[in-house]
């Protein structure tokens, strides 16, 4: 019992450390938010030079995933106290996408504050939920991104197996993603080792699985008995390596990473559960001989994928 408590506090400590580490460096741009349908409002820490603000070339706006496509800025307006700046764009903004605003050579009270970039996104909580729901339903890793299929078809024959695999997988992916996020942000990126990401992430995932295996065996043997067999299979699942790669590509921060990993895990659990429910019934169906086993499972998965397409384009917040 005492060990459990100690393990819990150690975990909390690690999470707290990560949390503080995840905070961003102070910047001259205090806040950036969307306003109405076509405006971005930037708030500066101090007054900026009106002459500098008049030049439209000092600002570029783009959707975060497409840094090459710059959006047209129709007008730039500075508030009377010179610390709020409104950028009006030529077209309405797709506010579901985070946008990046680069402000070049900010001039404030005669001093050059350098070039700064800021990300504008919708209210943060809503954004987090939309990442979670996005990974869970709209971009479900199994039915919309077609990852992790080997394990998906391998363990979806019985409901109990499916649920066991899903839960184990969710735990492992959350741990592995957070660890690889940490390693990427604080080791690989600062030392420009990001070309090593594949090797490091796959090694890290194997280590996490091994660690969970060892810890679970000691702390909770009953749980280990129930879920231990699925642990080995987790490594063979490509979602578990895809999520760290996606996190690294998109430069998510820690909480966003947690949400994506959770969404991916729960989405896999959902997919497994749905699939196993159908396959248990398929056992009693009269399937043509050539289609028995995997072929019919693929066709069922295709139907699921079709129905999951109904979620596409949906936005919740």
């Amino acid at each position: 019992m005492k060990n459990d408590v100690k393990a819990f506090w150690t975990l909390m400590l690690i999470i707290a450390t990560l949390w503080i580490g995840g905070c961003e460096a102070p910047s001259f741009i205090k806040a950036a938010q969307f306003e109405e349908t076509d405006r971005i409002v930037l708030t500066f820490a101090g007054p900026v030079d009106p002459a500098w603000a008049e030049d439209r070339d000092h600002f570029t706006v783009n959707e975060k995933p497409d840094p090459d496509i710059l959006l047209d800025i129709a007008s730039v307006r500075l508030s009377p106290d010179q610390s709020r700046l409104t950028l009006t764009l030529a077209d309405p903004i797709n506010q579901n996408q985070p946008h990046q605003v680069v402000v070049k050579e900010i001039v404030s009270e005669g001093r050059n504050m350098g070039t700064q970039a800021v990300t504008v996104s919708k209210p943060y909580f809503g954004y987090l939920i939309s990442i979670l729901i996005g990974a869970l339903l709209i971009q479900n890793f199994v039915f919309s991104k077609y990852l992790g299929l080997c394990v998906f078809f391998g363990t979806s024959q019985k409901k109990s197996t499916a649920v066991g695999m899903g839960i184990t997988f969710t735990f492992v992916i959350v741990f592995a993603s957070l660890m690889s996020w940490f390693l990427y942000q604080f080791v690989l990126k600062p030392y420009r080792l990001d070309y090593l990401q594949i090797i490091v992430f796959i090694g890290l995932v194997s280590l996490t699985v091994q660690a969970v295996d060892t810890v679970l065996r000691k702390i909770n043997p009953a749980l280990f008995k129930a879920f231990g067999v699925y642990l080995v299979l987790v490594i063979a699942n490509c979602i578990v390596i895809a999520v760290p790669l996606i996190l690294a590509d998109n430069e998510y921060n820690m909480i966003e990473s947690l949400m994506l990993a959770l969404g991916a895990g729960l989405g896999f659990l959902l997919a497994l559960f749905l699939m196993s429910s159908v396959r248990e019934r398929l056992d009693f169906a009269n399937v043509p001989t050539s289609y028995r086993g995997l072929p019919i499972a693929f066709i069922v998965a295709g139907l699921f994928a079709l129905s999951f397409m109904g979620f596409s384009g949906m936005s919740i917040f």
Partner: protein, 207 residues
């Protein structure tokens, strides 16, 4: 399993047909469903897998005597990851457009079950030459599967083949949708099964 007695040609054919990674072993399904929308995509990923499979097989066959039994799986994984990094960087540098179209799948070759499985059941027990040919067979088998799927989907979905217009119209746009990948793989597997039962029946009648 002892060292293989098959000739090099038999090893290649084995990978192409008898143990085709996609339709027979049902391994590495993710890319087969995910990016087999055009022949070009299938071909490119096929080349990447061929490269990784051949080089990892050879590497493991070379150093198999020095790998301790208990750490063999991590060794395989790291070997594959190294070769995947190589092909990933090469493709990103020389074919940036096609590389972008395949998205994350090139880097995910590291998690493809087929490669690890060939190292485990073949390369760690056989000579470098045999492993090389086995890798060639498996790689081409994978490429063959991807290209077949890609061809069917491209012709039926877009009416084109390798980007050239062959039909002049789009018969079933449905096949471009990713969901169709599941259906098509299902149909193809069923077809392979059917052909196999026919073949076995004929063989029985013949004997």
């Amino acid at each position: 399993m002892a060292a293989t007695t098959k000739t090099n040609m038999q090893l290649v054919v084995n990978g192409l047909l008898n143990e085709n990674p996609i339709f027979r072993l049902a391994l590495s399904m993710c890319p087969a469903v995910g990016i087999s929308t055009t022949v070009a995509n299938g071909l490119l990923l096929g080349v990447a897998v061929l490269f990784v499979q051949v080089f990892s097989s050879c590497t493991i066959a070379l150093i198999k005597d020095h790998i301790h039994q208990r750490i063999r799986i991590p060794t395989y994984t790291l070997t594959i990851a190294t070769w995947v990094t190589v092909i990933d960087l090469v493709l990103a540098a020389y074919l940036p457009v096609a590389y972008k179209a395949m998205g994350i799948f090139v880097r995910l070759i590291v998690a493809f079950a087929i490669i690890t499985m060939r190292l485990e059941v073949f390369a760690c027990r056989n000579t470098v030459t045999a492993s090389f040919w086995d890798g060639i067979g498996m790689g081409f088998g994978f490429m063959f599967g991807m290209v077949t799927l890609g061809a069917v989907r491209e012709v039926l979905g877009m009416g084109t083949l390798l980007g050239y217009d062959v039909l002049g119209f789009r018969p079933m746009l449905f096949f471009v949708l990713p969901a169709a990948g599941f259906f098509l793989v299902g149909f193809m597997m069923a077809m392979f099964n059917y052909v196999e039962t026919l073949y076995n029946r004929r063989a029985k009648r013949g004997s």
